[in-house]
Amino acid sequence: MTQTKAGPDIAAGRLPQEAYADNFSDLHPLLEPHEAQVEADRCYFCYDAPCMQACPTSIDIPQFIRQISTGNPTGSAKTIFDQNILGGMCARVCPTETLCEQVCVREVAEGKPVKIGQLQRYATDHYMAENETQPYQRAASTGKKVAVAGAGPAGLACAHRLAMHGHDVTLFDAREKPGGLNEFGIASYKSVDNFAAREVEFVLSIGGIDLKTGMRLGDNLNLADLRASYDAVFLGIGLGGVNALGLDGEDKGGSLDAVDYIANLRQADDLGKLPVGRRVVVIGGGMTAVDIAVQTKLLGAEDVTIAYRRGQDRMNASEYEQHLAQTNGVKIMTWAQPKALVAANGSVTGIELERTRDQDGSLTGTGETVTLEADMVFKAIGQTLVDTDLGGALTLEKGRIVVDADRKTSLDDVWAGGDCVAGGEDLTVAAVEDGKIAAEAINAALSA
């Protein structure tokens, strides 16, 4: 097909209207009760189960699977929520293939792990369909006040656990809608039917959590004031900044941040109205790169390429995600780093990439270049913490907040968790664990 238009080919409605619903339907539809029974029966109820060890939130996986098997999905969900109140979202977005399912003894034995993620979703969806609220009671009020900045996975988990302990929580979020990356970042086909928002409502149903949206740290909120007004502060603010490519022309039309585009996509009422390029190049190798590549393809982009500067085995996106991209027709180009954006008339028309190779462990450009035509070039090379938002009050390492094992920062009354802290895994489930640990530590500190 030859391009006839002079300008960049960016258009909405590339597909028949009904195709959008199909393309963005649930990646793994909910298991039917019989399917769940059969799958649950595959679990060996291992002693000191490896899956449980691999779960960042230490969910008692054999126990919750057994509870599905015994016809007690409600108890199963409680087993999950005991450790992970966002068990519903984690069931959808966890890279289980590198966590619980990777170490499942059936994966080791036969290459077919128990579908732990899907069983977790079966239990949690059952619970949320059958019950108006989450299953925990608030303890008697302690009169202590805690500020939680960021209503993403870390903040929600922290707020919920603090509320359980009877503390009064004020939960701030910069956006008008809570949920953080669950609401704005997760690929659409992993969280259909407004699940992120429903889960936030579920978490907040414990009571004692006052949600204030449109309140952004470094903007209309500052850390010093929070510390002055509250007994403790938890920061789960994620990473507000986006890494730049450092190339000329990044301000040109068609040069975009993947996270912004995904946020728009997640909030779009009509995907048919979302403009997408005919040819798309994604720079990066992580989950976000796969998410943007697959979703632009599903929006009707004809030619989508992920360009990654190292080999496929080094990509942060899991093998499963890489396969997902490839089966959706995304090309993965490895050993290629961006060299220059090609632009005309104020818009990107392509990107020049330089071939790379590994020379004694360090990445080296070979000098050989290749130019890909592109109507859109997405940056998905990571996000950064905007230090100024914190007023420079906290010790950072590699641009992220330093915390101890209790998720306490360099300040005695400030804890932090999720993507904004150093040494984390940048996973929803890890953020939940951070929030949970911090909440327990805050509770201990406030009860002392």
Partner: protein, 437 residues
């Protein structure tokens, strides 16, 4: 190819696989389909006298399922045939005429009055059927009327009725026994005393398969209530095997022909029944679950296995395991085995460890040198075989016999070569001097 031809108390069939007296053998239509499929014989569904019985018009069956709806056990409350006697007799006669090479036995159940038996035997004889089977087993419905298991639970009645049947009929007579009794040898002895040519067992086991916790009633329900029924299918096979063996081993009934019944689903099940003394087997649940085609692999599988083992006819396998069916007191206490875990096959689920640790002998590690590893501690292992049974990997854990002359690290005693059992053990207050094998 092995010869599967069976001659059971003079009743010949091309193979030992018969359909048991049950719904699959209630009509000419079904029986003809079964014969076309290859079944060696049938026991026609039980005939009664007088007006036909009536069945409930709600559920007659309940089941125990595995997680993938695998049918493990089946329970029924169906009664004997509810079709007119003359219709059944006419069809039996026709089928026997059309299928002379197949075994056709007629199951009977009439009240314990001699004249009733005289009358029905005469009617059956006229069909030229190969023999009769006395239904002394049905545990529901008919037993409430003084028949079925109500007779089978009283050895004197068994003997009395069997004697009538042998007195008034030239036909071979099989007495079908109920398992709902304390000692299966007693009714078998009674049948033999009455002149029975054979016994068949087991009939179904009294059971309630489940309780509907919403309706608070046994399930399945007929208008809100449930009655106990007869349990059958794969779940009952171990009970049936033991009862067959008990009769085969009992000096008083040893050699009495047995038709084995109870959860026979595969050729292997059949071979096991036959090894414990069954000269033919009867099948019902497997056919009711999968249809008559299951007989094809029963025939072929049994034949292939016999070829493989060098058996050329079924009588070579019948009873072959009976001499090894022993009592506990005669098991060799000097035989010492230890579990051994094949580390190449182990998938590290830890079930052997926790089973042994929580419920048995603390003889399996879960950690060796700080690494997850499951190894048998010979100093603790009593060789109980629990780990073998809970291990999800076949042949991963095996029981290895300790060679005589070596030292058992658990007891620090030398493993003796000599056979010794409880009857001579010093701890046995009833001990005798020499072990009786």
């Amino acid at each position: 190819m092995a010869d599967l031809t069976t001659n059971f108390i003079g009743i010949k069939s091309p193979n030992p696989f018969w359909l048991a007296s049950a719904p699959p053998t209630d009509k000419e239509y079904n029986v003809v389909r079964a014969f076309k499929a290859g079944w060696g014989g049938v026991v026609w569904k039980t005939l009664g006298d007088g007006d036909p019985v009536v069945n409930v018009n709600g559920p007659r069956y309940g089941a125990i399922h595995g997680k993938d709806r695998q049918l493990i056990g089946l329970n029924n409350i169906e009664l004997i045939t509810d079709r007119p006697l003359e219709v059944n007799l006419r069809e039996i006669k026709q089928v026997k005429r059309d299928w002379p090479d197949r075994a056709l036995v007629v199951s009977l159940m009439v009240p314990c009055e001699e004249q009733n038996w005289i009358d029905i035997l005469k009617a059956v004889e006229d069909t030229e059927a190969d023999g009769v089977e006395l239904n002394f087993g049905c545990p529901h419905g008919m037993s409430e009327r003084g028949m079925g298991s109500a007779v089978g639970q009283v050895p004197e009645y068994i003997e009395m009725v069997t004697r009538w049947v042998k007195k008034h009929s030239r036909m071979p007579c099989i007495v079908k026994l109920t398992p709902n009794i304390t000692d299966i040898r007693k009714p078998a002895q009674a049948a033999k005393a009455g002149g029975a040519d054979a016994v068949s067992l087991i009939n179904t086991i009294n059971s309630i398969v489940s309780v509907d916790l919403d309706a608070m009633s046994p399930a399945p329900m007929v208008d809100g209530k449930g009655a106990h029924g007869g349990y059958c299918g794969p779940a009952v096979k171990p009970i049936a095997l033991n009862m067959v063996a008990e009769i085969a081993r009992d000096p008083e009934t040893h050699g009495l022909p047995i038709s084995g019944i109870g959860g026979v689903t595969t050729w292997r099940d059949a071979a096991e029944f036959m090894a414990l003394g069954a000269g033919s087997v009867q099948v019902c649940t497997a056919a009711m679950t999968y249809g008559f085609k299951v007989v094809e692999d029963m025939i072929e599988g049994l034949s292939d296995w016999m070829d493989q083992k060098g058996y050329t006819s079924v009588d070579q396998i019948v009873g072959r395991a009976v001499p090894n069916a022993s009592d506990w007191q005669h098991l060799n206490l000097n035989y010492i085995a230890k579990a051994k875990i094949n580390q190449d096959l182990c998938i590290e689920c830890g079930r052997c460890h926790i089973a042994c640790e929580d419920t048995s002998h603390q003889a399996i590690t879960n950690m060796v040198d700080g690494v997850r590893k499951f190894e048998v501690i010979d100093e603790e292992c009593v060789g109980c075989n629990l780990c073998v049974n809970v291990c999800p990997v076949e042949n991963c854990i095996t029981m290895e016999q300790m060679a005589p002359g070596t030292v058992d690290p658990r007891t620090n005693k030398v493993v003796e070569e000599k056979y010794a059992n409880w009857t001579t053990h010093p701890n046995n207050p009833m001990a005798v001097q020499e072990a009786a094998e």
